[in-house]
Symmetry: C3
């Protein structure tokens, strides 16, 4: 018997979006990764003085990181969790999460490479979610402070 | 086009509650953290001979832990996952989860500080979830046993 | 006031299924663990030349692993996350996820024992989800490759 799944909630839609988006990054599908951002999407961190703006820049940055990982013989897995989603009056969606990068060297031991927070503004385009802006902060740069 | 999000399910409500609750703890908003418990809320672990009872005690314990982390220059992130939620006939909600504490020193490497299980009884108050009782067990104290 | 929970979505049903399934494994309830697979269920990895086929083989494999952990005095916790769920036209459900094994020795420090991906085909039997096939890949065997 096939049971019809009920319609996904927004929260679940965002979870599923992140699952697919992060897998694209982790498996080096950098062009498809870039398309999960809006054409004018922004990826910023508190360490980059110049954020990546637009899909071309976002793809280039992901491609460079993928090349470094391939050269080092490591696999990264980006885990997002502790997700807080809020739909805004203007229809955009704010999504705050914790993020872990788990790095595994070929034949070696996995370890946490980075503990971060991620603050996204998501929008819908053609029925699909896209990231308009992403801001990532690294805990190793703010540890010891209240927030 | 703004699509209306469908109504959140209980499971999702609990996930979102934990996301917000843990961020309050991790960012040292200890008064707001205490208010995520019922006024007579209990926070117990298998190591504390006396559980924290009531918001004042829960806030005090969180404040002490926050001060220690600030003094040590570390940031903790509490991850809850593998969540199992069941609504009880009396309207309370039992929520069992795995919990990881990921600790990051300023300028240093993140690592798992603790692997735990968390067993909560949640109730609704004024439309919001609150923790009535929380019981946390640490895996380093029970490893090697079946359960 | 008791609020009725809305009906669970498929995504949430899968999350809750995994939460319960992994807890059975981690707490060494290996007979109940085996029953979360279909009678002819298959558990395969890229390291086992012969996959475990059927509940008896799956239970036996889990029992051996549980005995090893008990002998070593360690506790494992299996975390699944970054879940991507798709219902197929034939009514089966494909579920892809990231998986971490967090190992804790008695009195010692927790660490990541393995970073994996998990690819399941789930089916419904008597209203409950079961795993028909599971394929697990370990990142330490494929690190440095694109996918």
């Amino acid at each position: 018997m096939v049971r019809r799944a009920s319609r996904p909630t927004l929260y679940e839609e965002v979870q599923q979006f992140y699952a697919r988006q992060m897998r694209l990054l982790d498996e080096h599908a950098v062009a498809e990764w870039a398309e999960t951002f809006t054409p004018d999407g922004v990826f910023a961190t508190q360490v980059d003085t110049t954020p990546a703006k637009g899909r071309h820049a976002i793809e280039a940055a992901a491609g460079e990181a993928a090349s470094r990982r391939a050269a080092e013989g490591v696999r990264d897995r980006h885990w997002l969790g502790m997700l807080d989603v809020e739909e805004q009056p203007d229809g955009t969606i704010t999504a705050r999460s914790y993020a872990l990068v788990v790095r595994t060297p070929l034949g070696g031991r996995s370890a946490i490479q980075a503990s971060c927070t991620c603050s996204d503004v998501l929008v819908r385009a053609g029925g699909r979610l896209q990231v308009r802006t992403r801001y990532v902060t690294r805990d190793d740069l703010s540890a010891g402070q209240g927030n």
